[in-house]
């Protein structure tokens, strides 16, 4: 087991190194930051001075070397635009995105599971069919268009919720959160719903499939035969057994949700890390783009690592296969 863990850690490190190189080279190939950062009034002399100040006049390998050296010391570079460490900028924005993703997750679970349960218990009913058709719609709606329609309906036509931005925040354990204020909450609902719909469709399908399977199991029949009420059978026995796969999948999906927040944050002008990424791409703020992508890589590598380790722990065959290879 220990050998396996070390092997996987080594692989994770390799992945990080490869991605760092790819990301750096890719971002380097995009445009000339000086052209957008400099005042339009700047002449050639000034443009050259800026290039030099930002270290962009050095050859690629030198810039890369410097980047790697600094990255190993925990410094992912300074933002060209803000002259602050890129990591600080991202970490300042992270709570907003995490709050959005977690809220979306909560919505997906608390609406998705009851609907999925219903569809699983009464698969042939009209409700069951409608829920499944709805879930296909949930899978199909392009996230950005769905966001636009939410804005059109709830902000423009009905005027119930603001069209975008993040509302008033309040500190919770030193982190600014918006769900504690009424204003913040009203700003949070639409984007969170937008982010949640796709996952909700996923939860509905998982729950429905799980429910149908569990309902056929012997212990459910025994529970019924014992005379337990329907609500108890479902509430305790069915729910307990379908929750495990649902929770596992959602845990895995949290990462992709944070990435997909890019679209939602753009539509709703929500000041999270996704919006920061899009803005930084627009301004060619290379250090911030690289730092964002590196953080994402680290996040996904860690998630994958944990999943693999858990699998390895519970499934001896995985270790066997690895050992052979």
């Amino acid at each position: 087991m220990l050998v396996y863990v070390i092997r996987r850690l080594g692989q994770a490190a390799l992945v990080l190194a490869v991605m760092a190189t790819l990301v750096f080279i890719a971002v380097y190939a995009v445009g000339d930051p000086v052209a957008i950062l400099a005042s339009p009034q700047a002449d050639q002399q000034e443009l050259e001075a800026i290039t030099q100040r930002l270290g962009l006049d050095r050859p690629l390998y030198e810039q890369y070397g410097l980047f790697v050296w600094n990255a190993l010391h925990g410094d992912l570079g300074r933002s060209f635009v803000y002259n602050e460490p890129a990591l600080t900028l991202i970490l300042n924005r992270l709570p907003a995105t995490l709050e959005l993703a977690l809220t979306a997750l909560v919505i997906a679970v608390f609406i998705g599971i009851p609907l999925g349960l219903y569809a699983g218990l009464k698969p042939q009913s009209l409700g069951g069919h409608s829920i499944m058709a709805g879930s296909i719609l949930g899978f199909s709606l392009p996230n950005f268009w769905q966001g636009l329609m939410l804005v059109l309906l709830f902000s423009v036509m009905l005027g119930w919720f603001p069209a975008g931005g993040r509302g008033t925040t309040r500190e919770l354990l030193g982190v600014p959160v918006s769900f504690l204020t009424l204003d913040g909450l009203s700003h949070l609902i639409l984007p969170a719903l937008n982010l949640a719909l796709y996952k909700m469709a996923l939860v509905i399908r998982l729950t429905r499939a799980g429910t149908r399977e569990v309902m056929l199991q012997d212990y459910i029949r025994f529970a019924r035969a014992k005379g337990l009420s329907q609500s108890r059978v479902i509430g305790v026995h069915v729910l307990k057994n379908i929750l495990i796969p649902v929770v596992t999948v959602l845990g895995l999906e949290l990462g992709s949700m944070i990435a997909f927040a890019v679209v939602t944050e753009t539509v709703f002008a929500y000041p999270g890390i996704g919006k920061l990424l899009i803005d930084s791409i627009g301004r060619l703020d290379r250090p911030v783009i690289v730092a964002y992508l590196m953080l994402t890589v680290v996040m996904f590598v860690i998630i994958n690592l944990i999943v693999d380790l858990i699998y390895a722990a519970i499934d001896p065959r995985v270790r066997l296969e690895e050992a052979k290879a």
Binding site: V156, F260, V262, V263, I303
Partner: protein
């Protein structure tokens, strides 16, 4: 499926390919059992025909700037043009007839989706089946790359790629191929690993058939069913992804708008009540994706033996 039946596999006696014809029929029959899937298929056929015939049925060529007149800009649905005909779905700010733009946009969206999936499928399937057949180091290496690729959200990878490449239909297709091939590689490898151990491959090996013949004529065709399912669903994904990228401003060029681009342009006018610019293209886009997903959903049920009860 038809390829599978048509493959003259001398050593394939152990596989029920001789029953291929009836198997196909059974699958088709099973597919048509679901009314939703039939609706999806019918819708898809209609949309494809509309897209293919766009240049014949559209009242205007929305890509020909000489036919546009900005004096006709942002007219609501049903308005009459300066030239005297009716804009049934209104116009965008350039005076582009939205009905025509949607038909042409549909062609780009479906085209980009289908082409990228075909290329990605070819690349991915080849890589997957070779990896499965070769095994060992090659397999290990390929699968590491696939895992790496799949562990990143497609949207982020495509966004960065297109930021590097710039705009263009061809560039969008390349980016979509790059983010998609790994799905096929993994799918094909999975089924190829199972097929590899079957007797007919052993038999083919015993006959000393050339390696590439075994891989591409015997192994690959038998891995097709799951591939078809993945490919169908991926077409929908590709279309959605293309429209999202265009919305974020890194997709197709503005003078040849896809549905996503039309929606993005309408975004500016949403608050001011000019709803038609982004709503109608959106409905067309959703219709296409839903239709494909309905078909894909049913195909999955039909082609997946584990689910057939």
């Amino acid at each position: 499926m038809s390829e599978q039946a048509a493959t003259p596999a001398p050593a394939a006696a152990a596989r029920p390919t001789d029953k291929g014809e009836s198997l196909l029929l059974r699958h088709v029959a099973a597919f048509f059992e679901s009314p939703l899937a039939v609706i999806g298929l019918a819708g898809l056929v209609v949309l494809v025909i509309l897209a293919l015939a766009a240049s014949f049925i559209a009242p205007q060529n929305p890509y020909d700037l000489a036919q546009l007149d900005i004096m006709d800009g942002t007219l609501p649905p049903g308005s009459e043009s300066l030239a005297g005909y009716t804009y049934w779905l209104g116009t965008d700010e350039q005076g582009r007839d939205l009905l025509s733009a949607i038909l042409y946009g549909l062609r780009i969206s479906l085209g980009v989706g289908a082409i990228s999936v075909v290329i990605a499928c070819a690349v991915g399937a080849s890589v997957g089946v070779i990896a499965a057949y070769a095994g060992g180091r090659i397999d290990n290496f390929v699968m590491r790359v696939v895992d790496l690729q799949l562990s990143f959200p497609a949207i982020l990878v495509a966004l960065v790629l297109l930021a590097v490449f710039g705009r263009g239909v061809d560039k969008v297709i390349i980016a979509l191929v790059i983010v998609q091939w790994a799905y096929y590689a993994r799918t094909v490898r999975g089924s190829a690993l199972v097929e590899r151990r079957r007797d007919y491959i052993e038999a083919a090996r015993c006959l000393a058939l050339p390696k590439n013949r075994i891989v591409f004529r015997h192994l690959l065709p038998n891995c097709l069913p799951p591939l078809i399912v993945v490919a169908t669903v991926q077409v929908a994904h590709a279309i959605a992804l293309e429209s999202t990228l265009s919305f974020l401003g890194v997709g197709v060029p503005v003078t040849e708008p896809s549905l996503g681009m039309l929606i993005a342009k309408g975004y500016d006018y949403l608050l001011s009540g000019k709803y038609w610019i982004s709503t109608f293209p959106g409905i067309a886009l959703v219709a296409a994706i839903v239709a494909i997903n309905l078909v894909g959903d049913r195909l999955r049920d039909v082609l997946n033996p584990r689910l057939s009860r």
